[in-house]
């Protein structure tokens, strides 16, 4: 899928766009998933290797507990394998598709009755520091990370707070409104406006 177009004017300075490289990486992941759908376990292993740091890191950031994060990540990959035949490259990137599954499962986990009582109140505490191997893959990932951080930095404080509470905190928009002590309509608007701004800055188009 052609979901990454060149960064438009007004993008953060120094944020590498890496258009071609990203497109080919996206195409490779979509290919691996297509092969997995045909039962190719080695292709799925390669897909795992290319995406697992993002998937596990997201799960860990949302659920906090490393053992739970592992369970969530494992469930998400099993789900991805199982439903790989349903992935449609025309509707989104393979990595985006996987992260959607991971996020949903992570959020379900924190909202389930047991986890809800154990949830850490300090939502904005940083997750464990990353310890990438110094491989080309890890460097690639960190360039992307710098680009995303650059875009996030251009959000207004209230937008960034709403987006992070929602995506990383795993809270509902009603809970976000309560946490921020603003009307629901305001929380809704901040969440959507923040995401739309990120979409435009990062050149995500369907």
């Amino acid at each position: 899928m052609d979901h990454v177009r060149p960064v438009p004017d007004g993008a953060p300075q120094g944020a590498p766009s890496g258009g071609d490289e990203k497109r080919s990486e996206a195409a490779r992941l979509a290919d691996l998933l297509r092969q997995a759908a045909l039962g190719d376990e080695a292709a799925f292993a390669a897909f795992y290797d290319a995406t697992s740091a993002r998937a596990y890191g997201l799960a860990l950031r949302v659920v906090r507990n490393p053992a739970h994060a592992e369970e969530v990540t494992q469930e998400a990959y099993l789900d991805a394998w199982h439903s790989s035949t349903r992935y449609d490259a025309a509707r989104g990137s393979a990595a985006g598709w996987l992260m959607t599954i991971v996020h949903r499962k992570a959020v379900d986990r924190v909202r389930s009755v047991e986890a809800a009582t154990a949830r850490d109140e300090t939502w904005n505490r940083e997750a464990a520091p990353t310890d990438h191997d110094q491989t080309a893959e890890a460097v690639h990932a960190s360039l992307d990370a710098a680009r995303v951080r650059g875009a996030v930095a251009t959000l207004t404080d209230v937008q960034r707070q709403a987006v992070e509470l929602t995506y990383f905190g795993g809270y509902t928009h009603t809970e976000v409104a309560t946490l921020l002590d603003v009307p629901l309509g305001t929380a809704k608007t901040r969440i959507r406006d923040g995401l739309i701004r990120l979409r435009d800055l990062m050149g995500v188009a369907s």
């Binding site: 039962g39 740091a53 991971v102 959020v107 990383f168 928009h173 995401l195």
Partner: protein
């Protein structure tokens, strides 16, 4: 919620920030609104990029578990053009292999009929009305209704003499994708599963199990196939101690 507001839920939906009923209703809207579908796809893609900033290398054992797991299950059959017999049940539903779910263990009872996933068609199976009708027409029938707002309305009727309960829904929104509505008998803080609700807006379902001792009936939203115990707070509780 007004028609104007509903389109603004794309961001919250893309980041899984709607509660289950809002989500179910928004998915109904998505089915009819191409603009929102396109926006949701873009915003999901955007949200997924945020995961670039939190990458953490997982333990090597996770890779082993994942690869061991996939070797034991084949990918789902691909979606093929719907035929009349398949149309009633989206093929993506009903995965039974996820270790955290208990699939198939929860018997689903819809009267004595077998068409559990079909919209209720009273004309061709009058027979299965009988079990529900017996409860609805029982002299000791007790009734409790819960208004779910725009998500619909549901009524539970119980007959202690028959030890049975029936739930009737009107305009009830479908469970969110990947989820089922599960019914529970509640006694104190104990929840006993009473089966899953078929995916249909208007239906009458006989609950699975003994109803006489229940203090209440609850509905929760559970992962496809249901759970042994609720994993979320009920979206509706029918307090039978206050029934009429």
């Amino acid at each position: 919620m007004s028609e104007m507001d509903v389109h603004k839920l794309t961001g919250a939906y893309a980041m899984d920030a709607l509660d289950e009923l809002e989500r179910a209703r928004f998915e109904q809207h998505l089915a009819q609104c191409e603009d929102c579908r396109a926006e949701v796809a873009e915003l999901r893609e955007t949200a997924a990029l945020l995961a670039e900033t939190t990458a953490v290398t997982p333990p090597a054992s996770l890779r082993d578990s994942v690869l061991a797991g996939i070797s034991q299950v084949r990918p789902l059959a691909p979606e093929v053009p719907a035929s009349p017999t398949h149309a009633a049940r989206p093929a993506a539903r009903g995965r039974g292999w996820v270790p955290f779910l208990v699939a198939a263990a929860l018997a689903l009872i819809v009267g004595v009929g077998a068409l559990v996933t079909q919209p209720w068609a009273p004309s061709d199976d009058a027979e299965r009305l009988t079990a529900a009708e017996q409860v609805l027409q029982a002299p000791d029938a007790e009734e409790v209704s819960v208004d779910l707002g725009e998500a619909g309305r549901a009524t539970v009727v119980r007959s202690k003499a028959q030890d049975r309960a029936v739930i009737t829904t009107e305009d009830m929104v479908s469970a969110p994708s990947g989820k089922d509505y599960e019914l529970w008998f509640i006694e104190g803080d104990e929840f006993v599963s009473a089966g899953l609700m078929p995916d249909a807006a208007d239906q009458t379902v006989v609950l699975d199990g003994s109803a006489a001792a229940a203090a209440a009936v609850g509905i929760t939203v559970e992962p496809d196939g249901g759970s042994e115990q609720p994993t979320s707070d009920p979206i509706a509780v029918f307090d039978l101690t206050e029934s009429t």
